[in-house]
């Protein structure tokens, strides 16, 4: 491969220019991999946060109904679907909680804690007490942290639940939960059976939460349940369409910027190669006189673009990787509730991002090298030789 040999010598003989064009590519790759890691990290944080805090699929009553009656068959049916990991029946009702003179409106969830923890990681948000404490008999309740503050209750205090038409019932606070969202002001969990008793409507529920293995298959499952049972099933994607669309849009914009950054670094490569070609006219003529084909001349300069690009990609990837790790460990001094509970930059370093950035950079460098390489290969050997 004498073409490669010549390409390497050309590059070695102009180290300073090589250095600058490699730095340009490396910076482009580094900036883009950092940006991609941040975008991936943010996306995955949002998706995780969304998916963690709500069921992948939520099944609601049929149209014009408030409740799901005879839900045990439906539970079995959903549990039997492909990819379903767990189901959790829920009764969601409004009521007022009273502690001494304090009264707060709450959203009371009646759940089976064993089922609920399989579909949502509720336990991680428990800051006092125990989520499983509501499993057995006895009226126990877990309430949001803000709600606890507003009611001025502590673990072990008894609060009274009131609802028109229901008998006021005392619940003992056995846990406090903090999700980091506004729900902390209104959220309350109690045992499904106790809640059903409280509302006095029998063994009925208002919805079913479903967890699936592949979160991106939730759409299909929801549609299937919807079609086959007539109950209203929605996936987490449907429920968060806006934020997901926003992320897609952001990603699209980001890619436009990536292409622009790469294009700028591509000009650097094109620039150095145009200079090499102008500088080497006589040499190109001589190579042709020695029998080098036009194709080989083209290959020589494309190799040069590849070598410069490759060096830039390797250095840039290392730089991007190290910087991402360093930035990821940097704690942002802001109140966590301002940025979705984030206190550090969410980086997700995946090989795909580096591959995409590398392939992109190489492609643009080769395109940048194509023009000077073509010009070199189209030279008239007679004119080229006498251009000294």
């Amino acid at each position: 491969m004498f073409e490669m040999n010549i390409a390497i010598r050309h590059i070695r003989s102009r180290q300073r220019q090589t250095l600058f064009s490699v730095i340009a590519v490396a910076l482009a790759v580094a900036i883009i991999t950092i940006s991609m890691s941040m975008l991936s990290g943010f996306t995955s944080y949002i998706v995780d946060a969304t998916v963690e805090n709500q069921p992948h699929v939520t099944v609601s009553p049929e149209e014009d109904e408030d409740h799901i009656y005879l839900y045990h068959g439906l539970l079995n049916y959903i549990q039997a679907q492909d990819g379903v990991i767990a189901v959790s029946p829920r009764y969601r009702g409004d009521c007022a909680l009273q502690y001494r003179h304090n009264v707060e409106g709450v959203v009371l969830y009646g759940i089976n804690p064993g089922d609920e923890t399989k579909i949502l990681n509720v336990e991680k948000d428990i800051i006092a007490g125990d989520f499983m404490s509501i499993t057995g008999l006895g009226n126990r309740i877990i309430i949001g942290s803000k709600l606890a503050e507003n009611l001025e209750v502590e673990l072990g205090d008894a609060v009274t639940a009131k609802f028109p038409g229901s008998k006021p019932t005392d619940f003992t606070v056995t846990g406090i939960i903090r999700t980091g969202t506004q729900a902390d002001e209104t959220l309350a969990y109690a045992n499904l059976g106790r809640v059903q008793d409280f509302y006095g409507k029998g063994d009925i529920i208002t919805g079913i939460g479903v967890r699936v293995g592949d979160i991106y298959a939730a759409d299909t499952l929801a549609e299937k349940i919807d079609c086959e049972t007539g109950y209203d099933a929605t996936s987490w994607m449907e429920g968060n369409r806006e934020i997901l669309d926003l992320i897609d849009q952001q990603t699209g914009f980001a890619y436009v910027f990536y292409i622009m950054i790469f294009a700028i670094s591509g000009f650097g490569i094109a620039n150095i190669l145009i200079m090499v070609v102008m500088d080497k006219v006589g040499e190109i003529g001589m190579l042709m006189a020695m029998g080098t084909s036009r194709r080989s001349i083209l290959i020589i300069f494309l190799f040069e673009a590849c070598i410069l690009g490759m060096m830039g990609v390797i250095i840039g990837s290392v730089l991007g990787y190290v910087s991402s790790i360093m930035l990821a460990s940097y704690t942002i001094p802001v109140p966590p509730e301002m940025y979705f509970g984030l206190d550090h930059l969410p980086f997700l370093i995946t090989p795909e991002n580096f591959i995409i950035a590398g392939v992109f950079a190489m492609a643009i460098n080769i395109i940048a090298g194509a023009y000077p390489a073509r010009r070199a290969s189209k030279m008239d050997p007679v004119e080229a030789i006498h251009d000294v």
Binding site: F2, N5, I6, R9, H10, R12, S13, G282, E283, G285, M286, L287, M288, A289, M290, G291, T292, S293, R294, S296, P381, V382, I385, V388
Partner: protein, 236 residues
């Protein structure tokens, strides 16, 4: 048994018939105007003439660097004016060695690597190419300068390296376009002697374009061009 005519053809390495090369579109310049020329294997000849007479144009035609407007050139029996671009590159590599006024060595390669280059282009293995190139450098008396780059050698030395490179692939025709044009008379003489010696040792055909009447006078055959035509063809 071969006939006399066939024997005669065997000896001919180049047969040029009615070669015409016209430059330009509007005001055309007939750089070559119906040139007919036969050159035999092993000849050592000079093409002379005033500037603009078509010497270099003729040389570029023989060297397959340029294509004629009309006419044919048979190189070893093959009509090179009809060859494809790829075939022309291949023929240039295998059949022809060039020496120009300026040495045109690749500045980023040392002497031996420069001499190896036509061999590598020809697909010869690196180790073999190195051996052959080193032998060529020895022939031009520069085996002790093999590691030097062109900028570390004198004009005469560079021209010797260029000669070694031109001869590396054992081409049948060596073309010199003012090969001593950039050198002082002492270096010129040395280069001439070298070319002459190589011509004797390898029986390759040498075609030199030169302004140097003294040098031309020492060749076996002088072809004088004026206005794209051969006006004199004399042998010694």
């Amino acid at each position: 048994m071969m006939s006399e005519e066939m024997m005669e053809n065997m000896k001919k390495i180049i047969e040029i018939r009615n070669l015409t090369r016209i430059y330009g579109d509007g005001s055309e310049v007939r750089a070559l105007d119906g040139v007919n020329l036969d050159i035999e294997r092993g000849e050592f000849l000079a093409i002379i003439g005033p500037s603009g007479s078509g010497k270099s144009t003729l040389l570029n035609q023989i060297g397959i660097l340029d294509t004629p407007t009309s006419g044919t050139i048979l190189l070893d029996g093959v009509d090179i004016t009809k060859a494809s671009e790829k075939e022309r590159s291949r023929l240039r590599n295998r059949k022809i060695g060039f020496i120009f006024q300026y040495h045109h060595l690749l500045p980023d390669f040392n002497a031996i690597e420069n001499v190896m280059m036509p061999l590598l282009i020809n697909g010869v293995k690196r180790s073999k190419a190195r051996k052959m190139a080193s032998q060529m450098l020895e022939e031009v008396g520069l085996d002790d300068r093999a590691d030097h780059r062109p900028n570390q050698l004198s004009g005469g030395q560079n021209q010797r390296v260029a000669i070694a490179r031109a001869l590396a692939n054992s081409p049948e025709i060596v073309i010199g376009d003012e090969p001593t044009g950039n050198l002082d008379s002492k270096a010129s003489d040395a280069i001439y002697e070298l070319l002459r010696r190589l011509n004797h040792e390898h029986n390759q055909t040498f075609i030199l374009v030169t302004h140097d009447a003294q040098m031309a006078a020492k060749t076996d055959r002088i072809i004088r061009l004026v206005d794209g035509r051969i006006v004199e063809d004399s042998r010694r």
